[in-house]
């Protein structure tokens, strides 16, 4: 009888109990340290002989809270045991849960009951905003800890060596809409230079541009370079419609479709490096990271490139482990039969790329993330473009959440896949909590100015508001730095700048999410990539203020109220609540003022770059060189085999 256990059995028999035990120990350590800190003032006044007994109190005097945190730790440890985190990762997550749970319990049992009943409405709003924010922090901490402290990766793609006998037909589709001719010209030129048998790949420009002259020019370019130019009479379905139109016309032998953004310069080895992954018949799509060549174009592009690294080198590998990545719209390849299985791209969605990932997963297709860059595009280098891009992403992803939540829950996806696809859209809501807490702080701060006393009523909450969110902010920065360091960004300064960039877009996200919830219809808006030139100080400042009216007004109001409160403190006896409020107002003011600051810096530091592209004449003059020929078979090898 075979008594050996397979890997899953071993995991169930050893991994879960071991993880639960380690988690329980983490919970106990957290409780012990907390109890030690609480007891420190008393210990300082007792005799030294009693201290060992007092410090060991959690071992011999069990409390309900001790049991709760130990059981919570055991549960978390058991649940994440399959992910093989480092122990510090598990300890960090258990401590975070302890912190957030303690915060909410303290608010419910101590802070709010001590507020005068007539004033509690504000406490409830504050608690709701904090609880929502904490919920998101707990969820997204999981991903960053998974990326930063995981010890074993089980789904990292093996390199697929080029096999000249494996040559599926591939269509490289470039959807364009009024992009500058020079940008698209280089994209097509790079694509036709793929090291892949030329009969087996087709470069297709799906041209939805509105200018007929521009379309004719593009058609001539395609003709010269051996690419196909496809245009339509109407822009029905926007980008998704253009893609569906092309895919419906593809020859039968085309089996894989790769979507390439109009500004991408794709590596010649892209196709030969990716097609091999489709030998697994369950793989519906393969995604590679987006990368950028204009990282030095402005202050904004520097931060953007690092922030994208967080997504592509932390979030995506973590989700890839669970077979729950998203298709990112460019530098990804989809099996045509999978596309047909889900009836193509959804034409009523503005994030058709992320949306199709959900339907493919719901239909049982697997996905694979290959963490290796095969092309470089352009990212938005000024704030206006950045804002448009995030508006579209926030709007589109929340629409996906609302339109597909039922599909996801009813599908045969695993629990973790469902969680990943549902949770991935939740971070777009975090702006609501930041705005809500900012508004409450503003209301509290206006008290001394408008003549009402809210600070006294909410003194206890303000102390808590200073301590816990500050700790969470530190936690977020530490985790972000931990992950960014793995993606190659070593400096603490970069971590803070990326955090600032995310704060600068919160209000835009709130507006986009609200529109999406209210059922607004937003057409697909292409992210403009042509940055223009740098602006003078005055023009940059004016444009920044125009683009960030809400953030500037709100941030300015918070800062003003903070200074007025500080002035009031200086005039009278110091109040701890008012001091904390003033400082917290300044912190929130800085969150909102990141928007005009980043906008200004993006225009002032703009330095449009030029790139050495490919020579079209060289390509067309020599004809597309067949970089891979079919004569890969060694005749002597054949004759040797024949003779055997």
């Amino acid at each position: 009888m075979n008594t050996r256990l397979n890997a899953d059995d071993r995991h169930l028999s050893l991994g879960v109990p071991l993880g639960a035990t380690i988690g329980a120990i983490c919970g106990f350590i957290t409780y012990w340290v907390g109890a030690g800190i609480i007891a420190t003032p008393d210990l300082a006044q007792t005799s030294a002989s009693v201290i060992p007994f007092e410090l060991s109190r959690p071992f011999h005097t069990v409390t309900a809270w001790e049991i709760v945190i130990v059981l919570t730790g055991a549960t978390i440890g058991g649940l994440v045991s399959r992910y093989k985190w480092q122990k510090v990762g598990l300890l960090s997550y258990v401590a975070l849960i302890s912190l957030t749970a303690g915060y909410i319990v303290y608010a419910l049992t101590v802070s709010i009951p001590r507020v005068a009943p007539g004033e509690r409405w504000l406490s409830f709003i504050l608690l709701g905003a904090e609880a929502g924010g904490l919920f998101l922090i707990v969820i997204f901490s999981f991903y960053s800890l998974d990326a930063a402290t995981r010890r074993r990766w089980t789904r990292v793609s093996s390199e697929q060596p080029w096999d000249p006998l494996l040559q599926p037909h591939v269509a490289l589709v470039v959807p364009i809409y009024n992009e500058p001719y020079e940008v698209v010209e280089q994209t097509v030129a790079h694509l036709v230079e793929q090291n892949y048998p030329e009969e087996r790949f087709h470069v297709i420009v799906a041209d939805d541009s509105t200018d007929e002259e521009s379309r004719q020019r593009m058609a001539r370019l395609c003709d010269r370079l051996g690419a196909h130019h496809v245009k339509r009479k109407s822009r029905q379905g926007f980008k998704a419609g253009a893609l569906n139109n092309v895919i419906s016309q593809l020859p039968e032998e085309v089996e894989l479709v790769s979507i390439i953004d109009a500004d991408y310069w794709v590596d010649p080895d892209y196709l030969r490096s990716i097609v091999g992954h489709f030998t697994d018949p369950d793989i519906g799509f393969v995604q590679t990271p987006q990368d950028y060549r204009n990282g030095e174009e402005s202050f904004l592009t520097k931060q953007y490139k690092r922030a994208e690294a967080y997504f592509y080198h932390a979030i995506m590998p973590s989700r890839n482990e669970q077979n729950a990545i998203i298709f990112c719209g460019t530098m990804g390849m989809i099996r045509k039969s999978a596309l047909e299985d889900v009836d193509g791209f959804a034409e009523d969605q503005v994030c058709e790329d992320a949306e199709i990932s959900v339907r493919l997963a719901a239909n049982g297709w697997d996905s694979l993330y290959v963490d290796e860059s095969f092309g470089e595009g352009l990212m938005p280098s000024v704030f206006e473009a950045y804002k448009k891009q995030f508006h579209r992403w926030a709007f589109g992803n929340v629409r996906i959440l609302f339109s597909h939540a039922g599909t996801i829950l009813r599908s045969k996806m695993t629990v973790r896949q469902k969680f990943d696809y549902l949770a991935s859209s939740l971070h777009w809501f975090d702006g609501y909590f930041v705005v809500a807490i900012g508004a409450i702080l503003l209301y509290l701060g206006l008290g001394p100015i408008l003549g009402y006393d809210a600070v006294t009523h909410h003194q206890r909450e303000l102390v808590l508001l200073a301590l816990v969110p500050f700790a969470l902010l530190v936690d977020t920065i530490l985790r972000l730095h931990l992950v960014l360091r793995q993606a190659g960004a070593d400096r603490w300064r970069d971590t803070f700048l990326i955090q600032g960039m995310w704060f600068s877009i919160k209000v835009t996200n709130v507006i986009a999410v609200t529109k999406s919830i209210l059922g607004f219809n937003t057409p697909f808006v292409r992210t403009p990539k042509a940055p223009g030139g740098p602006l003078s100080r005055t023009r940059a400042a004016l444009r920044s203020l125009r683009l960030t009216k809400i953030e500037s007004a709100f941030g300015g109001a918070l800062a003003t109220v903070a200074f007025v409160n500080l002035y009031h403190i200086g005039m009278g006896p110091p109040q701890i609540g008012q001091i904390i409020l003033s400082l917290w107002l300044l912190v929130y003011a800085s969150f909102f003022l990141c928007a005009p600051l980043y906008a200004y810096l993006s225009y002032r530091t703009l330095s449009p770059m030029t790139y050495q592209g490919l020579s079209i004449d060289a390509i067309t003059g020599a004809g597309p060189p067949p970089a891979v020929t079919f004569e890969k078979v060694d005749p002597s090898q054949i004759s040797q085999r024949s003779s055997r």
């Binding site: 907390g34 480092q86 009951p113 990766w153 004759s639």
Partner: protein, 207 residues
Amino acid sequence: MLRAIRSFLAEVPPIVSRFTRDLVSTAEGWLDDLAGALGPGDGLFLPAGKGASILILGGIAMVVISLSIALYVSPRATHKGPGRSTESDRAGSGTNGTGEPRPRFSAAHAGPMPEPAWLERLRETIAQKNLGEVVLLSERSGRRAVAIPACSGPEARQGAPTCDHAHKLIQAELRAVEPQGRVLAVSCKAQGGQACVFEIRTGGSIP
């Protein structure tokens, strides 16, 4: 502002303000019950707020300590993404961590495949036509590459271009057994290639 809110509440239809008041007072009742249940005194239940304070302070301390340790001990990975997993890492790890593990890349993990019936028949037919011996160059899940060294022989030269003749022969043998099968010409000796190579695909959805 509070006064303004109160006056606004007073002006709205009574049913709305009554509903709001009821909602708040109900929540306050729950809160009082919860506070009473969680903090009656020392012993198993700590005084109100003490247990939560322990969780908060312990949590803050351990978050900072553990992440600082993680920053210290985890490698400064300057490469992109996680390292490649080893064979032993992947062994037995199903995609979703449940059920039987599936081979992710069958080409790398599957052993040699048994020779199918059509290939045997093809060998016989090609031999009968004096086109030499069919050489199996490679095989992976659902696809095989074969070379026919003598496909440019005298019989093949009659009529259509050489590779077309061999192509049709293979196609006919394959279709007789596997109607979904496809044959693709990879290289043709008559057109300057060093050998006549065909890729044979079976299994429907396999690319």
